[in-house]
Symmetry: none
DNA sequence: GATGAATGAGTGTTCATTCAT
DNA sequence: CATGAATGAACACTCATTCAT
């Protein structure tokens, strides 16, 4: 086998794996987590069910990996354009805005991750590992507390007002169908900021 | 037939249906929505799979009915002890506290409803019908806006700070294992109130 | 219990049994022998599945009894208006015509009996007993052979040309939708008579 | 991969499908159409129930395909040795004889096809497509009518005396157990020919 | 006589996974 | 690497039948 063939094969392989991941997310988006079977995923990805087991140990591994991979990507996107030298409020606003944008651009992924994190599979994911993707932001929160800009309350309580409301609003009728308006993003951020600011 | 026998018969029947509902919720709590099959539910409820179809048309009907029934119960509990003549902030605090208490007392139900509302089954539920259970509270929010106590923003945005953070906090390590402390309830309420108050 | 009540009950009972038989035949006519279950029959007859077991030992007994009962009725109808003093050809024609008329008036029964006689249940029926209903006609055939009007061949061969073609023609597009025309009856009888006559 | 292996693979596959078809026909022959379930068929064919769904879409597809396939085979056999230059009566006799022979050699198939054509499944079969297998014979009938050898009556009436009586006779006690005698074939053909000849 | 509730055994079908090629 | 064929076990659901009332 020469290099050319080897290279083309590797590309093909990546395509296959990518096709499998996309098929998984799309299928869950279409018919739900419960009904998404291996053979349906394989059919959607235009591969044999057996092929799937070359890239993943089993169904569980596929679902978990897909989730983790997407969470990594999310971590990067949410921290995009953020400069720690910005004022804290601006950082939070950028983060808030990035979250809305990410959800809007990755609706199918988002639906997947919501279903995944509400299934028992979530327990197979190393949460600490996941949170590393968001660590820079955690440090900013800490800094805000120290600078007496953010309320000094347990992290989980702050998180409940920084991460969760976005999901709720994004799924509401305010945000389905058309583009999420800047007005909604700004209005809702005011509430979030009022909640956490000292 | 005497009353005693008649009564015992009715009780027995109710017991069966109740056993099925409980088994459903418990099983979902244990092994998740995805893996909860009809036969497993039946086995847990100590009835034949066929018996299940006496009380419910099919699996979907069982799952949806269970969800709707529990949401009704939840509506009642969250509004418990609330008097509309109270100051608005007090009402919100009571509602907040009731939510925590309800979740703590009905953990298995709550897990069920979270999984359910993140499955495609949720689309089978008439949301408008469900929201009727919370209508009194919606009117209070409206009153708060009119009295310029609550921010005048779309309802869905307010809801995102009133309903969702509780779930997040309840599921966090702050609230698992031991009783949810009054301190956490009060601390977190301060954030929620700051978010929505004008 | 007084006579009046007793009488009304007996009438009611007959109605029930009749309703069960009718439901059986109609259901088989609608969804076929394979799919016709006891509970569906009961539902169609507006009785409980359990009621069915008051009148019949089991499903097999119901199906067989229904078949036998209807075959009895058929025997009577096919021999209607037949006078053994008539010329043999006239008797055969009347029998032929009666068969067509019976099928037309009892399509649903006929479909039932065709499905039944092509199922293993048919082996549970005492054929000799059934044939008694047609015995007068068998004697006429015998007489025809003796008088050298009918071909002297085994009875089963004659029967194949006297009984079976009617079914075939009745099920063909010649006879569905509209009334079976006298012309078809007469034309086809000519073939049957040519077949068996010496 | 060498030819031998390739061949053996294909043979193996064909064996599986063939085993399924044979099991279907045999089982229907033994316990009837009504009781022949997918799992029983699979067990008889020594395959998993799931394997059956590799070759057929569902039970209906299996039953219909089996019927259609066998009808095709029947078409070929019934027209065997027939030369359209033969005298019309000879052609009909050969066809008659071929029918008896086919039934005798394929009893289990024949029982299957009788049960099938008396079930609702028959409506799923494209009758026009089926009749193509017998078209040469239909043309001969037409020729006979034109040559004033066969009675000029609707096709369905002729068919009722050409096709149906054979079934009736074959199922009678004249033909079960031992070989069907030439005498019966000839005797019965005389009746059929008398019926249709002008 | 009549029934609704109940069920173990069965239905047709799909599952996640493996294996020979 | 990639696959179509294969499967035992499970799926949601219906079956014929019984029984307490």
């Amino acid at each position: 086998m020469n290099d050319h063939l080897f290279l083309s094969m590797r590309i093909k392989d990546l395509h296959k794996q990518e096709a499998i991941i996309n098929a998984t997310v799309e299928l869950v988006n279409e018919i739900g987590f419960v009904s998404s079977s291996v053979s349906k995923i394989a059919k959607k990805a235009n591969v044999s069910p057996a092929t799937l087991y070359i890239y993943y140990e089993n169904k569980e591994d596929l679902l978990v990996s897909t989730y983790v991979e997407l969470k990594k990507k999310m971590g990067k996107e949410l921290l995009k354009n953020i400069d720690i030298s910005f004022p804290i409020r601006d950082i939070f606003f950028l983060f808030w805005k990035n979250t809305f944008n990410f959800i809007e651009k990755n609706r199918s992924f988002y639906k997947y991750s919501e279903q995944f994190s509400n299934s028992p599979y979530i327990e197979l994911v190393d949460q600490a590992e996941l949170e590393k993707n968001f660590e820079p932001f955690f440090r900013i929160i800490q800094k805000g507390i120290e600078q007496k800009i953010i309320k000094d309350v347990p992290f989980e309580i702050l998180a409940a007002f920084i991460f969760y409301p976005v999901t709720s609003i994004s799924n509401s009728k305010l945000c389905t169908g058309t583009e999420i308006s800047d007005e909604i993003i700004e209005t809702s951020f005011n509430l979030a900021w009022d909640a956490i600011k000292l």
